[in-house]
């Protein structure tokens, strides 16, 4: 089956207020699915539901046909990894130790033999090898985000859920992280990423899901979904979608004069 993770008719209420309404979404292997939408649209909540953090009040989320909520923490952790929006750490562990934590679910299994190899590879892929000996709380925001991404990669799961993986990163590292996400998808993983940069989403996504007010407004190929009409409505701000030599650019309207140029 190509879509191991399926949400159907998912509804979530938080603090008495509805946050997600009747969300249907398939997460497919070999594909990078990008979630976009305004602040508070419910992107993190949806990711929480997909990852099993949050049990939806209505609808179901299934992983290979079994309800995510029924799986034990270890079982789940060998199948899906999550990069949360915020990544804190209570004590001064070194970067390499934090990345090693991603291997916790494989302890006592044959895969444990790969620990060192995988950790080294994950550090390299997130470009934090040179920080391996540094103490996590002393890192900059972007360095922490990359360390956390390395931890997620080290988990070696079929499903990878990333909540705003590029939020704190410089241009080079944004491209690096997106390249990693693409490589994972190309290698047969299913990757879901929440992004705010619509141009970035258009450039890298296989499919884009536009979320607004807790509802899925559109899902599909970037060109089909990222239209000026839909985006302007959803973001409540006029947006332009420009095709520049085959690349899709999403630009906000600024002052009228500027738009004329």
């Amino acid at each position: 089956m190509n879509a191991p993770l399926v949400a159907s008719g998912v509804g979530v209420e938080l603090g008495g207020a509805p946050v997600l309404h009747d969300v249907d979404l398939e997460v497919r292997l070999g594909e990078l699915l990008v979630l976009v939408g305004p602040n508070g649209a419910g992107k993190s909540t949806l990711l929480g539901v997909l990852s099993g953090d949050q049990v939806p009040q209505r609808g179901t989320v299934t992983l290979d046909g079994r309800r995510v909520a029924s799986l034990r923490a270890g079982e789940l952790a060998r199948r899906r990894a999550v990069l949360p929006q915020e990544n804190r750490l209570a004590f001064g562990f070194r970067v390499v130790d934090v990345v090693r934590m991603g291997r916790a679910a494989w302890a006592g299994r044959p895969e444990e033999d790969r620990d060192d190899l995988v950790v080294a590879e994950a550090l390299r892929r997130s470009d934090v090898t040179h920080l391996a000996e540094r103490v996590y709380p002393t890192l900059s925001g972007g360095e922490r985000a990359r360390t956390s991404l390395a931890r997620v990669l080290a988990q070696e799961t079929a499903l990878v859920l990333l909540d705003e993986p590029t939020a704190a990163l410089d241009v080079r590292h944004v491209e690096l992280v997106m390249a990693q996400a693409r490589e994972l998808a190309a290698a047969g993983h299913a990757v879901v990423a929440v992004l705010h940069d619509l141009t970035l989403a258009a450039a890298h996504a296989d499919r884009v899901c536009v979320l607004a007010d807790g509802r899925v407004r559109a899902v599909g190929a970037p060109r089909a979904v990222l239209t000026a009409d839909l985006l302007s409505t959803v973001y409540e701000h006029p947006l332009e979608v420009v095709d520049l030599d085959g690349r899709l650019l999403v630009l906000p309207h600024r002052h009228p004069q500027e738009a004329l140029c």
Binding site: R78, V82, L89, A90, R94, G102
Partner: protein, 371 residues
């Protein structure tokens, strides 16, 4: 279930000639081994030295001679003083053994609690668990409960410790973590309530019970007998073994509840286990030695400064360090002033109080530790 199981390795690095895979930084085994060895030797040597000191001095070689003699090896001199051997085996050794056990229990409980709360300021004394255990034990004294013989006081102390640990945890936890301010204020509240309970026990008790409770609020190892050691030792043994078994999962708890669950740790189970172990260790320490605060705060902190926060080293090193600290604190307590036995809890608080304050300021300043 097999569609997503086990077939999704990290894509191999793109082969770019003969570039070897990047080497991982070395695990700091050497440093950890050195610390554990040094602490272990320190505990053994300090035990022999401490046992020889007191109103009747027995040189360390004669102390060792006496121990070896009982083990059937006669190579070192026996105590020359006629009462020497008797004093060692009736008075000193049980007391020194209890110091080792209580020190190990308190420091391990501190390390466990800090891991559980994800907060370097959590400690049984600071957050009120010790007083909670003491309150339950005072109840036994005042109402002369004898349900379980020698185990009555520890059993009640365990129950009291468990209830207070659960209460502190439930009250100070919000959104999967514990802020420093919340933890400290919760500690104040719990300490206040339990101290009020202790005051009530003092009020209700007869003179003998009062004396015992006061003595015990101050914390002391005076009057330790082998029977006490026999009760405390298995509790500490179980507590330490449990803490070691939890250590890798405690490391992962530093990520916070949610991320710990993401990497496969059953957070609820670890939490319950850690709370029970903290209560067991605190009860073991409090039952016969009374309230000795701050050991669990100071020792794990110093260990972390040397070998980092990994619990696989932190737990055993804290146990040894706590034993070492209490050995010397007790030696000081009974030899600093001639013919007087100072309360050891007073000494640890005298040093631990300012240390706590320093740690509080430091935690607030630095990024680590969720200030």
């Amino acid at each position: 279930m097999t569609a997503v199981a086990g077939r999704h390795r990290l894509p191999e690095a793109v082969p770019t000639g003969d570039v070897p895979p990047p080497a991982l930084p070395p695990v700091r085994r050497g440093r950890a081994g050195l610390l554990l060895a040094a602490l272990g030797v320190g505990v053994v040597v300090s035990t022999l030295v401490s046992a020889g000191q007191g109103q009747l001095d027995v040189p360390a070689d004669q102390v060792l001679g006496s121990v070896l003699h009982r083990l059937g090896v006669d190579v070192l001199p026996l105590p020359t003083h006629p009462q020497g051997d008797n004093t060692l085996w009736q008075v000193r050794f049980p007391r020194v053994a209890l110091a080792v056990l209580v020190g190990a229990a308190l420091a391990t409980a501190g390390a466990l609690m800090q891991g559980l709360f994800g907060n370097p300021l959590a400690e049984p004394g600071v957050v009120g668990v010790s007083v909670g255990a003491a309150l339950a034990a005072a109840f036994v004294i005042v109402f002369q409960v004898t349900l379980l013989g020698a185990w009555t006081v520890p059993a009640f102390a365990f129950a009291g410790g468990l209830v207070t640990t659960l209460a502190v945890y439930a009250l100070s936890r919000a959104d999967g973590r514990t802020e420093v301010v919340t933890l400290v204020l919760t500690g104040i509240a719990v300490n206040a309530v339990c101290s009020a309970g202790l005051a009530l026990m003092l009020f209700l008790g007869d003179t003998a019970a009062r004396e015992e409770i006061v003595f015990w609020q101050l914390g002391s190892l005076n009057g330790t007998r082998w029977a006490h050691v026999a009760v405390v030792a298995p509790c500490v043994g179980i507590g330490l073994a449990g803490a070691l078994a939890l250590s890798r999962r405690l490391d992962v708890l530093a990520l916070g509840d949610r991320a710990a669950r993401h990497v496969g740790v059953d957070v609820e189970r670890v939490r319950v286990a850690a709370i029970v172990l903290v209560a067991l260790l605190t009860a073991a320490a409090v039952s016969f030695a009374g309230i000795i605060a701050f050991v669990g705060l100071v020792v794990p902190h110093l260990v972390r400064m040397v070998v980092g926060p990994g619990h696989r080293v932190l737990v055993p090193a804290s146990a040894l360090g706590g034993a070492l600290l209490l050995l010397w604190a007790d030696l000081f307590a009974r030899t600093a002033v001639a013919y007087a036995d100072l309360p050891i809890g007073m000494l640890t608080s005298l040093v631990g109080g300012p240390f706590f304050f320093w740690l509080l300021r430091r935690t607030r300043r630095t990024a680590g530790g969720w200030a």
